[in-house]
Amino acid sequence: MTDTRSQFHELFGELYLPVTLTVGTIVVLVVLFAVVRYRRSRNREPSRKSEAPLLESAYAVTIAVILGVLIWATFTAEAKVDKVSATPGLRVDVTAFKWQWRFDYPGKGVPPSIGSDSHHAELVVPVDTVVGFRMTSRDVIHALWIPVARFKRDAFPNRYTSFDLVFDQLGTYPGRCAEFCGLEHAGMTLEVRVLTKQAFDDWLAARRR
Amino acid sequence: MSRPSVVLLVWAGFLVVLGLVLLAWTRSPLMNGLLFGAAAGTVVLAVVALRSREPRRRFVPDVSFPTALTAVGIGLAVTGSAVGTWLLLIGSGLALVGLAGVVRELARA
C-alpha cells in the first residue's frame, strides 16, 4: 500500500521537523550565547585564535552523519511513494486542461467526471484501495495536488505520468492545480470524495444508468 | 591555491566529480552536457587567467559616452527585434556609432 500521507507524516513530522527544529534551536542558542557573553561590556579583549581545524572537521562529520540519516530515510520513503503497482484496485485517467479537470474510469463503463465553470470536477474513489492514476494535459503544464494525500504530480502535454494513491479516510477533500497555468489557475479546483467500497460501487452503478 | 588559475581548476574539478556522480544515475545528454559544459567553461577561464599578465597601463577617460551609447544601442536593437525593424535599425546604428567612438578612445590612449 503506497500510503503517501503516512509516509509524509513519518518523514516530515517524525524526522525532518524534529531534526531541523533541534538544529535550529541549537544554532539560535549559540548565537544568543555569543551575543550576551561576548558583548563589548563583558569582553574588552578579543581572542586572537582564528581557527580550530579539528573541531571544525568533527563538526562537518557530525553534519554529514545526520544528513546520511536524512538521505537514507528520504530514499526509502520515496521508493515507496513513487512505486506504481501493476494491479491497482482502481484505475483513473486524469486529464488537465485550462482550467478544469477530467477524470475517466477506464473499464467501468461510466461517463467521465468533467469539471465546468458551474460544477467543478469530482474525483470519487473507494477507501483503502490502491488507485492507479495516469495523467496528462491537453494544453499547458498543470499539476494535480491533493493535500490530504500529501502528494502532487505535474501534468505535461503529450506525455503520460503514472502514480498510485491510497485514501484511508472517508470524507470530502479539496484538490487543486498547483502549476501556474494562466488566468484562471486560482480557480482550477476539484473535489475528492472518498467513499466506502460499497458506496463507491453504488455510485458507479448509478452513473451507468 | 595561491594562483587564480589553480582555484578555477580546483572548482572545475569539483564540477567534474559531481558530473561523474550524475552519470551514475542518468545518461541524459542535456543534463550531463550542462554540468560537464560548465566544467569545461571553467577550464577555459582558468587558461585565460593563466595567460593574464600584468595589464598594460592604458589610459581610460573618466567619462566614456561612446560606451554608454553602445550599450543603449544594443538595448534598443534587441528590443527592436520584437517591437519593429525601425527600432532594430536605430539601435544597431547607435551601437555602431558608439563602437566607433570606443575605438577612437582606444586609439587615443
Binding site: 538544529v23 | 595561491s2 550542462l34 560548465a38 528590443t79 517591437v83
Partner: protein, 532 residues
C-alpha cells in the same frame, strides 16, 4: 602636498555620472537603480498582499494579479537583488584588493547600461495593449508560447531579461578579472578578504550559468516566432533544465556576496579576525560547485528526472552551509561585540537565513516536496533565504559601507528602528506562509475561497507586509536625512580590517595614495596588532 593624480578635476554633472568609468560611480549607479526598483517591486508585493488579505477579488483582477507576481518575482531576481550584489562587488572588490580601478572599466559601464535597458524593456510590457508578461518569472512553455501568451508584453519581458542578465554577466567578468589581475603586491589568493572570496565563487557561477539562461530565453523567443524549439513531448522539460541550470545558481549569486559582506561586518564589529578562513574558502568552493549540481530539485514533481541524485546533492549543501555558520559565529565567540546597526542586521541575518536554510533541507526531500512544492511553503522558504537572509545582510552591508561611499554615517537611531520593524515585519509576513502551504494553499493564486480556511493567516501576512514596508520607508528617510545633515565619518570609522578603510571616505578617483603592507586577509588588523 598633492600628487598629480589628485589634481585631476572630478567630472561633475548628471552626464558625467551617466558615462562614468570610475568603478565607484558605476557601483553607486547600479546600487541606486536597484534600490529604486526594490521600491517598485515592493509596491507590487503590497498590492498582491492587499488582494490576498481577504477572499474575493477586491483590488485587482486575476489578469493584473498575474502580471504583478510575474513582475515582482522577475524584478526582484533580475533587477534588484542580483544587481545589488554586483553593485557592492563593483564598488568594493577593487578597493579590497588594493587596485586603482576595476578591470575593464568601460565594460563595467556597458554592463550597467545593459541592465538599465533590460529593466526598461521588461516594464514596458505594462504599456502594451495585451499587457505585461504574466506567466511567472519561470516562463515555462507551453504557457509562455505564442499560443498561450500572445502579445508584445511577453516578448519585451523575455528580451529585457536577456539584456539585464547580459549586463550582470559583463559586470561579473570585470569583477573576476580584477581579482585575477589587479591584486596589490603581497595579496596572494589566500590573502583575499572574505568578501572577495565570495565574489570569486559568485562570478564563477555567473559566468558559467547566466549564458545558459540567455540561450533558454532566446530559444523561447524563437519558439514564439514560429521556430518549433520546445514543441516536442520532451520540450517543456528541456526548457526547465536549461532554465533551472541558471535558476538555482542565481539564488547563490544572490546569497554569497552578502554572506561575504557579513564576514566583514561580523569580524569588524567583534574586533576579531575572521574565524576559520581556510575552511571557509574550501567550503565556498564546495558550496558553489554543489549549487551547480542541484538544479533539477525544482523538477521533483515532474516525474521526469532522477530525483535521488538531486536530492542527494541538495541535502549535502548543508555541510558547507554549516561550516559557514560555524565560521561566522566563531568570529563572534571570543570577540568584543559592538551592537551598531550593521551588527544588528548581521545577527538578524544569521537567525533568519537559518529558517530559510533549514526549510530548504526539508524540500530537498522529494516526498516532502511532493506536498509543499508550488505552495506557499516554498514562497516562505525562498523569502526567508532571499529577503530575511540576503536583504538583511544587504542592509548590514549598507550601514557598514555607507560612510565609506559618502563620507557620512547613516543615523543609528533610525537604523535601529529600521531593523526592529523589519525583523518583526518580515517574520509576520513570511512565517504564516509555511503554515498556509502545509495547509494546502498553492502559490501564484490571486484569490482563494473563504471556505478554504486560509483567511486568518493571509491577513496576518498582509499586516506584516505593511510593517516591512514601513521599515523600508524608515531606511529611505535615513538615507535622505543622513545625506542632508551629515554626520561626517573619517577614513576608518569602524576600525575596519580590509584595505577599503585605508583610504579617504569617499576614496579619491585613483582609490589609494598609499597602501599598507599586505600580510594576510586583514591587513589593517595586522597593523593594529603589530603583525605587519
Amino acid at each position: 602636498m598633492t600628487t598629480v593624480a589628485s589634481e585631476r578635476p572630478v567630472p561633475r554633472g548628471l552626464l558625467a555620472w551617466a558615462a562614468a568609468t570610475d568603478h565607484k560611480r558605476v557601483g553607486v549607479l547600479t546600487g541606486a537603480t536597484a534600490l529604486v526598483l526594490l521600491l517598485v517591486n515592493g509596491a507590487f508585493a503590497l498590492v498582491m498582499r492587499s488582494e490576498l488579505a481577504w477572499p474575493g477579488t477586491q483590488i485587482v483582477g486575476l489578469k493584473t494579479y498575474n502580471e504583478l507576481f510575474t513582475a515582482h518575482g522577475s524584478g526582484m531576481i533580475y533587477l534588484v537583488v542580483t544587481p545589488l550584489a554586483f553593485a557592492l562587488a563593483v564598488y568594493f572588490v577593487p578597493l579590497q584588493v588594493g587596485a586603482a580601478e576595476i578591470a575593464g572599466p568601460r565594460f563595467a559601464l556597458l554592463g550597467f547600461w545593459l541592465y538599465v535597458c533590460g529593466a526598461v524593456a521588461m516594464y514596458s510590457g505594462f504599456l502594451t495593449q495585451e499587457g505585461a508578461a504574466r506567466f511567472g518569472w519561470t516562463a515555462f512553455p507551453p504557457l509562455s508560447d505564442s499560443t498561450n501568451s500572445p502579445g508584445l508584453g511577453s516578448d519585451l519581458w523575455l528580451l529585457g531579461v536577456c539584456l539585464a542578465v547580459g549586463g550582470m554577466f559583463v559586470l561579473s567578468g570585470c569583477v573576476l578579472a580584477t581579482i585575477v589581475r589587479l591584486r596589490a603586491p603581497g595579496m596572494t589568493m589566500l590573502r583575499l578578504p572574505v568578501f572577495c572570496w565570495t565574489m570569486v565563487v559568485t562570478t564563477l557561477m555567473t559566468l558559467t550559468t547566466f549564458p545558459v539562461l540567455i540561450v533558454a530565453l532566446t530559444l523561447l523567443e524563437l519558439d514564439r516566432r514560429g521556430v518549433g524549439v520546445f514543441t516536442s513531448s520532451g520540450g517543456p522539460a528541456a526548457y526547465q533544465h536549461l532554465f533551472w541550470f541558471y535558476g538555482h545558481p542565481v539564488v547563490y549569486v544572490m546569497f554569497f556576496p552578502f554572506v561575504g559582506a557579513m564576514g566583514e561586518v561580523i569580524a569588524t564589529f567583534s574586533r576579531r579576525r575572521f574565524f576559520g578562513y581556510h575552511a571557509f574558502v574550501i567550503s565556498l568552493l564546495a558550496f558553489a560547485a554543489l549549487s551547480m549540481s542541484v538544479w533539477a530539485h525544482h523538477m521533483f514533481t515532474t516525474g521526469q528526472v532522477t530525483n535521488q541524485y538531486f536530492s542527494l546533492t541538495s541535502t549535502l549543501i548543508a555541510i558547507p552551509a554549516g561550516i559557514e555558520y560555524f565560521d561566522l559565529i566563531g568570529t563572534m565567540i571570543g570577540g568584543s561585540i559592538l551592537f551598531r546597526t550593521p551588527m544588528l542586521f548581521a545577527i538578524g541575518f544569521l537567525l533568519l537565513f537559518l529558517i530559510g536554510g533549514l526549510s530548504g533541507i526539508m524540500v530537498a526531500s522529494p516526498p516532502i516536496d511532493y506536498h509543499v512544492h508550488d505552495s506557499f511553503f516554498i514562497v516562505a522558504h525562498f523569502h526567508y533565504t532571499l529577503f530575511a537572509g540576503s536583504m538583511f545582510a544587504f542592509f548590514a552591508a549598507v550601514y557598514y559601507w555607507f560612510p565609506k561611499v559618502t563620507g557620512a554615517f547613516l543615523r543609528e537611531g533610525l537604523g535601529k528602528f529600521h531593523f526592529l520593524f523589519m525583523f518583526v515585519g518580515t517574520n509576520l509576513t513570511f512565517f504564516p506562509m509555511f503554515l498556509l502551504g502545509e495547509k494546502g494553499m498553492p502559490r501564484r493564486v490571486g484569490d482563494y475561497r473563504g471556505s478554504d480556511g486560509f483567511t486568518g493567516l493571509n491577513l496576518i501576512s498582509t499586516i506584516g507586509a505593511f510593517l516591512t514596508a514601513l521599515a523600508i520607508a524608515i531606511f529611505v528617510c535615513n538615507v535622505f536625512v543622513s545625506l542632508r545633515r551629515r554626520e561626517p565619518a573619517g577614513a576608518d570609522p569602524w576600525e575596519g580590517q580590509t584595505l577599503e578603510w585605508a583610504t579617504s571616505s569617499p576614496p579619491p578617483r585613483h582609490n589609494f595614495d598609499a597602501l599598507p603592507a599586505v600580510r594576510s586577509f586583514a591587513p589593517l588588523l595586522d597593523v593594529r596588532e603589530g603583525k605587519a
